[in-house]
Amino acid sequence: MDFYALALLQGLAFVPLALGIFLSAKVFNIPDITTDGSYTLGAAVFAVCMLSNMHPLMASLLVMPAGAAAGAVTGIIHTKLKMNALLAGILVMTALYSVNLLIMERSNIPLLGTPSLFVEISNPDNLLINIAIAGILVTIITSILLWLLKTDFGLAMRAAGSNENMIEANGVNTNRIKMIGLAISNALVALSGCLVTQMQGFADINMGIGIVIAGLASVMMGESVSRRLQRTTLLMPLLMVVTAAVIFRLCIAFILAQGIEQVYVKLFSALLVLLFIGITKINFIKK
């Protein structure tokens, strides 16, 4: 049982990632691959801050502007240089690999024994309290994002992703708002990287590879469920994305529990995504 409780805890750590990808992919309609790099950036910045004895809360807050900067760079390349968003993201992601190595100065930083936002994460007796901490964090972040998307600025962001003509005719600089959107999205992704680092007790240069897939799976799954429920309020898709992020992690845990080796995890997560998307596309009502 502890195994799945641990997966639930990890799932909660992936929620900011899913919300970040919800923002870029669903609100702005931009496939942003910067994610793979900014996730590791969050881990790298946190690890280095911890090595210099910073308070874990301070370090966790600091990773967000770092992630935001990465997102903003993708935004600038996409909007100012008119480069395809996918390509801009790949470009920044590739560059971030070196940046992350420069920050970390090695490919792996173990953080066992250093303080974190969680209570002695390695001790299984603390699982419940740590789930509660992660739960509170996730609730705060989701609430802030929900509030943001409902503000006048949030309305403009949602409009910019869906109808550029309209929003420009209503006085919004779409380039600027896309850049800010990508910055917020990658700040959330970096936060996920930092939370996962705190849970696993190390930062690794390769931890971000393919992470965008995990986020995208949660977003697509959440979106299709909320559509099937025919609930069109903003709260429902957000809650579904949050839930899907956790379920995705639980599925991975289930796969691992079947005795499948760690090397196959990425392969299975890709298959899982395929399965999720496949299920949501199949029309169960025969005509």
Partner: protein, 251 residues
């Protein structure tokens, strides 16, 4: 008032050939006037609107709105002067947002969109009152997503959105071309009423001769980037469909 001075503009077609559309075009639209522009496809009607809105930047010439030189301003910067109703009813509003959310964005056209929850009871009451003036019963649908409404309903709401802020200029690019006759009539009646009330400088491109005759107080006929006929208020008030068709055939 909108003034176009010495506008020259050419564009490259799909075959890569450069076509000169406007050559030193001068036009003034007086404040509070309602001008219809008619003409065949390719005569430059929509490009003229795009030049005023900032969507097309002319190769040469100047655009003034109320003595402010605006040709260096982008679409979003120009939106404080210019409100626009697009030809496609789906283009003027955001399908994924509710009616009231679309209205909120439109109400902020001239101002900063900040971190404020702006949709309060007072705002809802104001919007409902404005929508009720359309007399289409849409004031009861403000919580619905825009995408769930028909083209006619969306275009009518776009009219309210465009006139929610006091923009000087209202541009309408074939606003009724995608609507059924009843919705088209209702939209034009409402537009004429609002334009008169708010004293917008209105410019409408249309292919509908009935609209060209029945609405507005000036009519421009365009051909190959030139104004072939400029029919002012007095003459326009006596204009008939038959006469207009004769002119069109001449042009």
């Amino acid at each position: 008032m909108v003034t176009l001075k010495q506008i020259s503009h050419s564009f490259e077609d799909d075959a890569g050939q450069v076509n000169q559309l406007f050559n030193n075009l001068d036009i003034t639209f007086e404040a509070g006037s309602f001008t219809n522009i008619i003409g065949a496809n390719g005569s430059g009607k929509s490009t003229l609107l795009n030049i005023i809105a900032g969507l097309t930047i002319p190769n040469q010439g100047k655009v003034f709105i109320n003595q402010n030189e605006v040709q260096h301003l982008n679409v979003d910067q120009r939106s404080k002067y210019v409100a626009r109703i697009f030809q496609n009813p789906l283009q003027g509003s955001v399908a994924e947002l509710t009616v009231i959310e679309n209205m909120r964005l439109a109400s902020l056209r001239n101002t900063h969109k900040g971190l404020k929850l702006g949709i309060n009871n007072q705002f809802i009451a104001m919007v409902k009152q404005r929508i009720a003036q359309l007399d289409l019963g849409l004031e009861n649908k403000i919580a619905q997503k825009m995408g769930t409404l028909s083209g006619g309903q969306r275009q009518a709401l776009t009219l309210v959105m465009a006139t929610l802020c006091d923009a000087d200029v209202l541009l309408m690019d074939e606003p009724t071309s995608a609507l059924d006759p009843k919705s088209a009539l209702s939209l034009m009646d409402n537009a004429a009423k609002i334009i008169q009330e708010k004293k917008h400088t209105a410019i409408m491109v249309t292919h509908n001769m009935r609209e060209a005759v029945n609405y507005g107080n000036r009519l421009l006929m365009m051909k190959a980037g030139k104004v072939e006929k400029d029919i002012a208020a007095q003459e326009k008030s006596t204009l008939t469909h038959a006469k207009l068709f004769d002119w069109l055939n001449e042009v």
